[in-house]
Every structure is written in structure tokens, then in C-alpha cells.
């Protein structure tokens, strides 16, 4: 809709704005007969009626924007009688706003249209008292004569449809926001579910450990007594058999080894049930590590394993049960030794770091184990051994999981290590790459106000 220039208004009927007599005189310069006059009058009345009925306001302007005639809806829009309207400049009578700002008279769409700019059609705001209306303004230029050009302005109140449109937009936006919220919630739920699953796995693990502990303490007595009998029996036979009977001696040796193996399993299991309180002392992890290394050093040198120590300066003390932590460290070191039958290199790194929400190990039992921002002592033990396949890596801390041949391992070593580290409120993790080596990381909380060095 909107902008067009009628080259010439050719018929009388189209020039509806003027007084009928004027129309006839100005357009035809001839005196109409009474009959013709009556017909014209009738036509004009109908046109006026039509313009009154049509909701759009129509205004006839001269080239300067002066109002020559307006339809009744315009009077209703402005709220003034005809006498106050005709002769007035439309730009003054109908100031328009766009995006909350009042348009300068030179930027008024009607002005622009009169100046021949074709982009002068659109919706504008109009403030009628308290009320802000949205008007769609269309301008048609009318070439009245060679010299004179007028304009017909059609104004439609689109406040309601705009409002409806706005409401629809808001509803659509609200719907989009709601959908977005739902998606976010779903994502959060999924995350929470994953975390819960992780926690559940940990709980199951913890329950498994507790059950093993209970079972172990329950059956230990019942198993160790018969083992005691067997061993005394073997000792008796050993004393009776002459050393010449090599085969019998060998059989007894095997029996004895079997008893020791069974006993070791029971003892390992009991380590779970022994929830004797940890004897915490403020210790230097590097010193505990050195003591542990001292106990197994011979095995390392025998296997041609070199050791590198990278200890950060001014390491804080941490609360440790030295004996139990030694158990953990020795276990890890011996595992590394077994992974390097041809020799290799072991690197021991101890450092501190502040824990951030993304720091490794902070997710498990978050808040329970570490507070974010708390200092942690990180002890890494790396080897250049065979490495551990991914599918095995996830199970190494599970009780009874072992890759060693029957009789060599009980599958409790690392499970016990983890239990011990967790009772220190720490986290033990393992990373490995096949053919390149394995790194075990123990992260321990540094007590608040820990004295450096």
C-alpha cells in the first residue's frame, strides 16, 4: 500500500474532497444542469458517507501540507472540530514519534512524501493525550494541475493489531525462553544424573569394601585356625622326613607356600576391616617417600631402574599416618617395578597446587574431600613401564581385580591403597599409556595454616 503518484486525476468522481459546486466549476468550467447537480450531490453524499464509515482517516493536503479537507475519522483521531483542522498544517497537527523519539518536522513522513521521497510510509507512534497509538501512514501524491501537486494521506490506527502482534511476539519469545529453559534444565538434570551415577558407583564400591571387611573379620578366625593346624602338621612332617626324600620335601614346601598364600589373602582382607583410627601426624610427604624408597631401593637397583626426584621447594607438611602411607607408596613403587622388567625410569614429583573446581580429583565427593581453593599436595609416581590398557585402567582400584597370575596377587593391593588415601581425605588417580608408562597421582589436602617447610 501507500506511495504512488497519480499523474492526473481524470474523473470528477475521484476528486472527492471539495464542495460539489467547487468540483463542478473547477473541473469542468461549465454550469451543471439541475439534474446533473442533483446526481453529483447524491454521489458526493454517498462518498462522504463511505469515507465516514471507512475507519481509515483520509486527509487532503496542499503542497505545503496544509489540510484542505479531512474525513470524519480524522476529526475523531485528532479530537478537534473541522474548523480547527482545515487550514492547519498536518505536520503540526499530527506530530509523530518513532521508537520513542519525536520526529522533526523535516523528517515527518508526509513531509518526506511531499518532497518525493518514497520511503515515507510506515508505522509511527502518535500521542493522543495519555494514550500512545500506532498509526500506519500512507501518502499518495495527486497531480492536480501542471503546477499544482496535492497529497492524499490515509491514516490507519493499527494500535490493536500492533499490540496483538507484540503480544504474539512476546508469547513466542516466552515460549522460546521456556523451551530454552527446559533444554537447560534437561541438560542440568542429565549432568546431575551422571554425577549421581558416579556417586552411586562410589557408594556401591564403598559398600563392597565394607562387606569385604566384615566378611574378612568374620571368617579370618575360622580360616586362620585350620591354616595353623596345617602349618604345624607340615612342620611336623618336615622334621620327620629325611632330606634324602627330595620329592616329599618339595611337596611339604609347596604345602607351606600354599598356607602362606592363603594367610596373605586373609591378612590383606583384614586390612579392610581394620578401621583402626589413623595415627595422623604432620609429616613431610617427601620424607615418607624417601623412607619407602629406602625399603625397596634394592629391588629398583637390581632391576636397573633409575630414579628422578622433582620436589618443589618449601613443601608444606600434611597430616599422614606414616605407616599406612608408606604401605601405599611401596605398593605403587613395586607395581611400577613389575611393569619395568627390563629396567626403566621412575620419576617422583611432589608439588602443591590450589584446587579449582576443574582440578582433577575435585569432582569426586566434591566438597567432601576438598574445598575449592584449598591447597593440595600432589605426589606423582611415574614409570616408563609397559602401561595399562584402558579397559583395565578403570578397574585397577576395584577389590579382587588383578591381572597377575593366580597366587601372585590378591587383587587387593590398589584397593587398599585407595582406601588408605581416601581415609586421608585424599584422592588417588591413575593415568597410563600403553608402551609409555603409568603415573599414579596422590592428592592430599594441605591443612589450613600448614607451616611451610
Amino acid at each position: 500500500m501507500g506511495f504512488f503518484i497519480a499523474e492526473r486525476v481524470s474523473t470528477q468522481d475521484d476528486r472527492t474532497g471539495m464542495d460539489a459546486r467547487q468540483v463542478s466549476t473547477s473541473t469542468t468550467n461549465a454550469v451543471a444542469s439541475d439534474k446533473e447537480f442533483g446526481q453529483l450531490r447524491k454521489r458526493l453524499e454517498r462518498l462522504e458517507l463511505a469515507l465516514n464509515v471507512i475507519v481509515d482517516a483520509i486527509v487532503w493536503l496542499d503542497e505545503q501540507g496544509g489540510i484542505q479537507w479531512c474525513s470524519p475519522p480524522f476529526r475523531r483521531l485528532i479530537g478537534k472540530p473541522d474548523a480547527d483542522i482545515v487550514g492547519t498544517n498536518l505536520m503540526e497537527l499530527l506530530p509523530l514519534w518513532q521508537r520513542g523519539r519525536k520526529l522533526r518536522p523535516t523528517a515527518h513522513p508526509v513531509r518526506l512524501a511531499l518532497d518525493g521521497q518514497p520511503n515515507a510510509v510506515g508505522s509511527y507512534e502518535f500521542r493522543a493525550g495519555e494514550r500512545t497509538m500506532v498509526l500506519e501512514v500512507m501518502v499518495a501524491l495527486v497531480q492536480v494541475s501542471k503546477q499544482e501537486r496535492n497529497a492524499v494521506v490515509a491514516i490507519r490506527d493499527i494500535t490493536e493489531s500492533k499490540r496483538a502482534e507484540e503480544q504474539i511476539k512476546q508469547l513466542a519469545e516466552a515460549a522460546t525462553t521456556a523451551a530454552e529453559k527446559e533444554r537447560k534444565r534437561a541438560a542440568e538434570l542429565h549432568k546431575a544424573y551422571q554425577e549421581l551415577k558416579g556417586t552411586q558407583a562410589l557408594l556401591v564400591q564403598a559398600e563392597k569394601m565394607a562387606a569385604i571387611g566384615q566378611l574378612a573379620s568374620g571368617v579370618a578366625h575360622e580360616v586362620k585356625n585350620p591354616l595353623g593346624i596345617i602349618l604345624q602338621g607340615v612342620n611336623y612332617l618336615e622334621a620327620q622326613i629325611s632330606p634324602d626324600h627330595a620329592q616329599q620335601v618339595e611337596v611339604l614346601k609347596m604345602l607351606k607356600e600354599a598356607v602362606e598364600r592363603a594367610d596373605r589373602i586373609i591378612r590383606d582382607l583384614l586390612n579392610f576391616s581394620r578401621l583402626s583410627p589413623l595415627d595422623f601426624q604432620a609429616c613431610r610427604m617427601e620424607a615418607v617417600l624417601e623412607t619407602s624408597l629406602g625399603l625397596v631401593e634394592k629391588q629398583l637397583t637390581l632391576k636397573d631402574i633409575t630414579m628422578t626426584r622433582v620436589f618443589a621447594p618449601d613443601l608444606p607438611r600434611v597430616l599422614l599416618d606414616e605407616n599406612q602411607m608408606k604401605h601405599v607408596l611401596i605398593n605403587i613403587i613395586l607395581n611400577a617395578v613389575q611393569a619395568m622388567p627390563e629396567g626403566g625410569e621412575m620419576t617422583f614429583r611432589i608439588s602443591t597446587k590450589p584446587l579449582t573446581p576443574n582440578a582433577r580429583g575435585t569432582k569426586r565427593k566434591a566438597g567432601d574431600v576438598f574445598r575449592f581453593g584449598q591447597q593440595a599436595l600432589v605426589c606423582e609416581i611415574a614409570d616408563t613401564g609397559t602401561g595399562i590398557p584402558q579397559e583395565v585402567l578403570t578397574k585397577v582400584f576395584e577389590p579382587f581385580f588383578t591381572t597377575k597370575p593366580a597366587g601372585v596377587g590378591t587383587g587387593l593391593g590398589l584397593a587398599i591403597c585407595r582406601a588408605i588415601v581416601e581415609r586421608h581425605r585424599g584422592v588417588i588417580e591413575i593415568a597410563s599409556e600403553q608402551g609409555r608408562g603409568t603415573t599414579v597421582t596422590i592428592t592430599l589436602p594441605v591443612p589450613d595454616g600448614a607451616v611451610l617447610s
Partner: protein
């Protein structure tokens, strides 16, 4: 050299019997056997052993109680506890009551012999 008398108090009769056999094989010891605490205390009174190997977990009167009774009769009689499971609190109580050792089963006889020897040399 006169044979030393070792009293074994253990409700596991077969364990006691084999232990007695092993001691007697060495020719230096005589083994005495009791399968409960009360019987053990009576045998301490009657036979005046040189050393007692005492189990802890027994039906009726337990090893700790038995130990206390033995120590009341013969304060200088060396008593070593021989039990299946090492329990820290229990071990502490036994040492406080006068036991000189706390050994867990299964135990190699060679080790046990050493443990006995330290008190009978």
C-alpha cells in the same frame, strides 16, 4: 638337661596336639595340653609348666581372663598369646596383663621355637 614343660591352652585340639608333637620332636620339651581356660589354670597349678602358649578366642573363659588368673597364681611364668587374628586393642590388653608375646596363626614352628627359647634360655 631337664626337659622344659610347655603348656598349650587352645580349644583347637588338633592344633595343640600337633604343636605338642613338634615340641616333643625337638627332645628339649614336654608338651602339656588344655582345651579351655579353666582346665589350663588347673594345669598350671598341678604341673607347674615353664612356659604357657595361650589362645585367646575360646569358648567359656577367654584367653585374657585365663592369663590374668595364671598371672595371679604364677606371676613369673612366661605366657605368650597364640591367636588367629591380630587385634590391636586385644594385644595391648594382653601385654598389660603380663603376656610377653602375641603371635598370630598360622605360625611356623621355627618361629614359635625361637619365641619360646627367648624365655627359657
Amino acid at each position: 638337661m631337664e626337659k622344659k614343660k610347655i603348656l598349650i591352652i587352645d580349644d583347637e585340639k588338633r592344633f595343640g596336639e600337633l604343636l605338642k608333637l613338634n615340641f616333643e620332636l625337638t627332645k628339649n620339651y614336654v608338651g602339656l595340653l588344655a582345651t579351655n581356660g579353666a582346665e589350663g589354670v588347673e594345669m598350671v597349678k598341678a604341673h607347674k609348666p615353664d612356659l604357657v602358649l595361650l589362645d585367646i578366642l575360646m569358648p567359656g573363659q577367654n584367653g585374657l581372663e585365663t592369663l590374668k588368673q595364671i598371672k595371679a597364681i604364677a606371676p613369673n611364668l612366661p605366657v605368650a598369646m597364640v591367636t588367629a587374628v591380630w587385634r590391636e586393642e586385644e594385644a595391648k590388653q594382653c601385654f598389660e596383663a603380663g603376656a610377653y608375646d602375641y603371635i598370630t596363626k598360622p605360625v611356623d614352628f621355627d618361629y614359635l621355637k625361637q619365641a619360646v627359647l627367648v624365655k627359657l634360655l
